[in-house]
Every structure is written in structure tokens, then in C-alpha cells.
């Protein structure tokens, strides 16, 4: 039995679960609603941070997505392994010639696709619709930047969600931990950290380093790296980082760090899943 066949079988069976949960449809609706809201209210002649019209709408949308995508990914994956273990699916599937590695990889692949596909579909469609409706040019490079950053962020948080579902056996606890992970990611942005820095007189370099380790912060800075690297635009952490690595470096970190963190987390989760007792 080839690894590819195992992947295909697992993904096909899991697709029914994904379709049943209407995850694809839900993601699409959320993306479209969000995009529609920003396109409708954002396509004005006002200028924000150098972005105007469609650019402004896209920038607002991409920033909303940076906060939303981790939550979607965590909620979609934090109950995958423990859920399959609880309802007997894992026991049945692994009584067949499916390797643990094959099951884990197939499930990951399908869940990631289910999260990324709506983003790749909704963003360009809304940009084109907005452009046709309001006659404005589409900032393709910024759109591509947003899709890359969004995909990297989804990969990172899909891995974190699977890690949680592998380590936490209780599904309710896993979901709670996923929400806490999301809250921590959102909280460890500039405002939270700068508050900590001032409160406990922490060295700025260490606070900025912690902030730079947060994938959500990295993604936000990667999106902003298209703009002028000013303190008012980036915030203190972004400004500190941009002065050290430059805007191109900032973009590379914004894509690379979530991917690296995701890959490391996923590898650890998979190793644990393959090594330990299944049930």
C-alpha cells in the first residue's frame, strides 16, 4: 500500500467530515461577508496610511484576516485527533493497512486545503467584484502578498491545532486551549507587550523579540512591509524589526517564521502521534 494511496483514502473519508461540518462553506461565507463589508465601506477616496480606495479595503481586510484566520484554523483542527480517538474512527481506520503517518498527513492535508481554499477563492473574487463595481484598479501585488501571508498563517495554526488535538485527550479542554492559544497570539501584539514592558520595566529588545516570535505579529508586519517603515505605521515592534532586517526581511520573516513554526509543531505532533499508544 503506497503512502499516496493511504493519503488519498484518508483524505477522501475525512472530506465527508469536513463537508458535513460545513467548514468550507462557513469559511467562504465569513471571508465573503468580511470582504464585502470592507469593499463597501472602504472604497472611498479617503487615504489611510498611504492606501486609498481598493488598496485601503484590501489592507483592512487583510488585517482582519490576520486575526480571524488563526481562530478558524485552531477551531477546525483542535478536535481532530482526540475526536477520532473518542468516536472509534481511528481504531477502525488503523485496523486497515493505513500507517499512522499516512493518517496524520492525510488529515492535515485535507484540513489545510479546506481552510486555504476559501481564502484563495474569496479574496480574488471580491477584489474583482469591487474593481468592476467601483472601477478601481486591483493592487495585485498586495493581494498576492495577503494570500501568501494568510496561507502561511493558516499552515502555522493548523499545525498548532493538530498539536493540541494530539496532546490533549479531552475534546472540550482541547477547544478551550485552542481559544486560549488564539487569545495569546492576539494579546502578544504591540499593545499588550508594550504595556508589559512599561509595567515591569522589561528591556525593550527582549519584549520586541517575544513579539517577533508571535506568528500573528509577523504576519501583520509582513502585510505592512509594503508601506513606509514608519513608527506610526508599524508600531514599536515592527519599527524595531524593520530597522534591523529591512522591509524585505520583514516580509520574509512574516512568511517564513509561521511556516517554520508550523512545520516544527506539526513534526512534533506527528512524532508523538506515531510513537505513543493510539487509544
Amino acid at each position: 500500500m503506497t503512502f499516496a494511496t493511504q493519503l488519498a483514502v484518508v483524505a477522501r473519508l475525512d472530506l465527508a467530515e469536513v463537508r458535513r461540518s460545513r467548514w468550507l462553506a462557513s469559511c467562504l461565507i465569513v471571508h465573503f461577508l468580511l470582504a464585502a463589508a470592507f469593499v463597501l465601506v472602504g472604497l472611498r477616496e479617503s487615504s489611510v496610511l498611504g492606501f486609498t480606495g481598493m488598496g485601503r479595503a484590501l489592507m483592512s481586510l487583510s488585517h482582519a484576516l490576520v486575526f480571524l484566520l488563526p481562530l478558524l484554523a485552531l477551531v477546525a483542527t483542535a478536535q481532530v485527533v482526540n475526536g477520532a480517538r473518542d468516536d472509534g474512527t481511528l481504531e477502525l481506520l488503523l485496523s486497515h493497512p493505513v500507517s499512522r503517518r499516512g493518517w496524520f498527513a492525510g488529515t492535515t492535508l485535507l484540513r489545510l486545503c479546506a481552510l486555504v481554499a476559501p481564502l484563495l477563492v474569496a479574496m480574488p473574487i471580491m477584489a474583482i467584484v469591487g474593481s468592476l463595481a467601483f472601477g478601481q484598479d486591483i493592487p495585485w501585488s498586495y493581494l498576492a502578498r495577503t494570500l501568501l501571508v494568510g496561507t502561511s498563517l493558516l499552515a502555522c495554526y493548523t499545525a498548532i491545532g493538530l498539536w493540541i488535538s494530539t496532546f490533549v485527550r479531552n475534546q472540550a479542554k482541547a477547544l478551550m486551549l485552542a481559544v486560549l492559544a488564539w487569545a495569546a497570539s492576539v494579546a502578544f501584539l504591540d499593545f499588550g507587550l508594550v504595556g508589559m514592558m512599561l509595567q515591569w520595566r522589561l528591556p525593550p529588545a527582549s519584549v520586541f523579540s517575544i513579539a517577533a516570535l508571535n506568528p500573528v505579529q509577523c504576519a501583520r508586519l509582513a502585510l505592512l512591509s509594503a508601506a513606509q517603515p514608519e513608527l506610526s505605521t508599524f508600531g514599536p515592534v515592527g519599527f524595531w524589526l524593520a530597522n534591523r532586517v529591512g522591509t524585505v526581511g520583514l516580509f520574509a520573516i512574516g512568511i517564513g517564521w509561521p511556516l517554520l513554526l508550523g512545520l516544527t509543531t506539526w513534526t512534533h505532533a506527528q512524532a508523538r502521534f506515531c510513537r505513543r499508544d493510539l487509544l
Binding site: 477522501r12 465527508a16 458535513r20 493497512p97
Partner: protein
């Protein structure tokens, strides 16, 4: 497939699920694994399928299932007691199973039909939308259709109706490849019909091991019923543990092995006071009259 366990232990934290279990099942043998809930049956079954690792030596045809699961899995078929509630439709599940194990979809459909399940009719329904019995039939059909060398059946007919149960028994008897069968069941009829030996587990240890005939004799029960209108006889019966079930009928359930002794005792003590005496196996609906 030959199954061997030598001093197998499995702990979950402080709880010892299996303690020093040593067993051997010859290729083609049929063994029942019995014991109360939490006695270690499921743990043992999962270790055989390579899903749990423990201490000691466990081999299937000389291979460690935890290390060589991929190699052994195509040769093992499993029917769980409770079929998982998958959202995948029935056709996808059957195709996946056939794709992973080999065999043909038509053979699965044929066996399912014999068990009373029309797979074509429910092909597009989510597996979880089927009743418990239908799900169990579908999984039993995929297991019986595979040319497995080891069949692990965990209460395989628990949710089936009597007719399907009888068909399942017949199909199991007629398997051409004569696989090693490990049956977790509390149904005496299944143990009587399908297995040669019984292993009884209690608190993770082997509590009893031997021929199924001996186990059945010790564990099957029968009911002795008698009718008397004599008051003195009624007093004696009450003291002996009989219950009054109708106006002048009395009843006591005893292990089958003690039936003859009880009947002799009743005849000796009550003699002419007994108007009717019946003894029936608890598995059988038909009472057998005992000649007075």
C-alpha cells in the same frame, strides 16, 4: 496466523490493564476472549492490532504488531463492537476498505446482502445515518470478504437481529481460508458454535483457560421449574432458594453442571409432592421435561 504472548503487561499510568499474560493461539484456532468490563479484553485486542505497546513479547507469525503493523494489517480483519459514526457515505467506506485491503466490492455487497443489508440501497447514505445493526453488518461484511488470516471479532453480532446473527455464524463457519479467530463475546451460543477454547480475563490476568466445552459447562445456566401444591414442599423450596413465580410454580436458576444434582435432590426430598418438573437451558426457549 499464529498468535503468541509471553509475559505481556500493559499499564496506563498506575492502572495495570494486563498483567503477565502468556498465551498461544495456533494458526486456524478459534478462541473466545471473555471477562467482565475492564478485564483487559479490549487492551489485548488493541495490542494485537499494534495500536498499543506494552512490555513482554507479543508476536503474530513471529512479527511484532507494534513494529510491523503495516505488514500485518492486511492480514488482520476487525469488527468492533460499536461501529464508529463516520460521516463518509457507505459506498466510500466500502471502497476505501476494499482499496486498502484488496478484494472486490461485489463480494462485500454479496455478503452484506446475506446478512440482510442492501448495500446498494444505502450506498449514498452517511455511514453514521445507518442503525447500529446495519453499521455492524456492513463492517462484518467487509471483514468476512477480506482474506484475513486473523479475524478479531469484538461482540460482532451485538446489534444484529437473530436471523442476521444466524447468517453471520454460518458465514463464519464457511470461510474458505480457515483464519485464526479471536472472538470477544458473552453469548454462549457463539462460544458454543465457533470456538475451541476460551480465555477468561479478570483484572488484567488470565483467570481461566481451557476447552470451550469445559467453560460452557461451568458457565451456562439452566432454570429448574416445578409445580407443587404441598405446603411443606413449598417451605422446603423457599429454604432451598427457589422463587415462587406463579400460584403453585417454583423456579431456580443454577449452573448447568449442577442441574442433575438439583433435580435428584428435589426428587429425593419432595418425591410425590412434585406434580411437574421442568429444566430448561437459559439459551434455549424450549423447556425440557425431566422424567419424574
Amino acid at each position: 496466523m499464529r498468535v503468541e504472548l509471553k509475559n505481556v503487561c500493559k499499564r496506563f499510568g498506575k492502572f495495570a490493564a494486563l498483567q503477565d499474560v502468556t498465551l498461544a493461539f495456533a494458526s486456524g484456532s478459534r478462541t473466545a476472549l471473555v471477562g467482565p468490563n475492564g478485564s483487559g479484553k479490549s487492551t489485548l485486542v488493541r495490542m494485537l492490532m499494534g495500536m498499543l505497546e506494552g512490555d513482554g513479547e507479543l508476536t503474530l507469525d513471529g512479527l511484532d504488531p507494534a513494529q510491523r503493523r503495516q505488514e500485518l494489517a492486511p492480514r488482520i480483519a476487525y469488527v468492533p463492537q460499536v461501529a464508529p459514526r463516520l460521516w463518509a457515505n457507505v459506498r466510500d467506506l466500502v471502497r476505501a476498505t476494499v482499496g486498502l485491503r484488496g478484494g472486490t466490492e461485489s463480494r462485500v455487497v454479496e455478503i452484506a446482502a446475506q446478512l440482510g443489508l442492501d448495500l446498494e440501497a444505502v450506498a449514498l447514505r452517511p455511514f453514521r445515518a445507518l442503525s447500529g445493526g446495519m453499521r455492524q453488518k456492513a463492517l462484518a461484511a467487509t471483514a468476512l470478504a477480506s482474506a484475513a488470516d486473523l479475524l478479531i471479532l469484538d461482540e460482532p453480532t451485538a446489534s444484529m437481529d437473530p436471523r442476521s446473527r444466524a447468517t453471520f455464524h454460518r458465514l463464519l463457519d464457511d470461510l474458505p481460508q480457515r483464519p485464526t479467530v479471536l472472538l470477544c463475546s458473552h453469548r454462549l451460543e457463539e462460544i458454543r458454535r465457533h470456538v475451541d477454547s476460551v480465555v477468561e480475563l479478570a483484572e488484567g490476568k488470565i483467570a481461566w483457560q481451557g476447552a470451550s466445552r469445559d467453560w460452557l459447562e461451568a458457565h451456562s445456566e439452566c432454570v429448574v421449574e416445578l409445580r407443587t401444591v404441598d405446603q411443606r414442599a413449598g417451605e422446603w423450596l423457599a429454604l432451598r432458594g427457589f422463587c415462587r413465580v406463579r400460584s403453585d410454580w417454583w423456579q431456580l436458576a443454577v449452573p448447568t453442571a449442577q442441574r442433575a444434582a438439583l433435580v435428584s435432590e428435589v426428587i429425593r426430598e419432595l418425591d410425590d409432592a412434585v406434580l411437574d418438573l421442568l429444566a430448561r437451558d437459559l439459551e434455549s426457549a424450549e423447556p425440557q421435561a425431566v422424567p419424574l
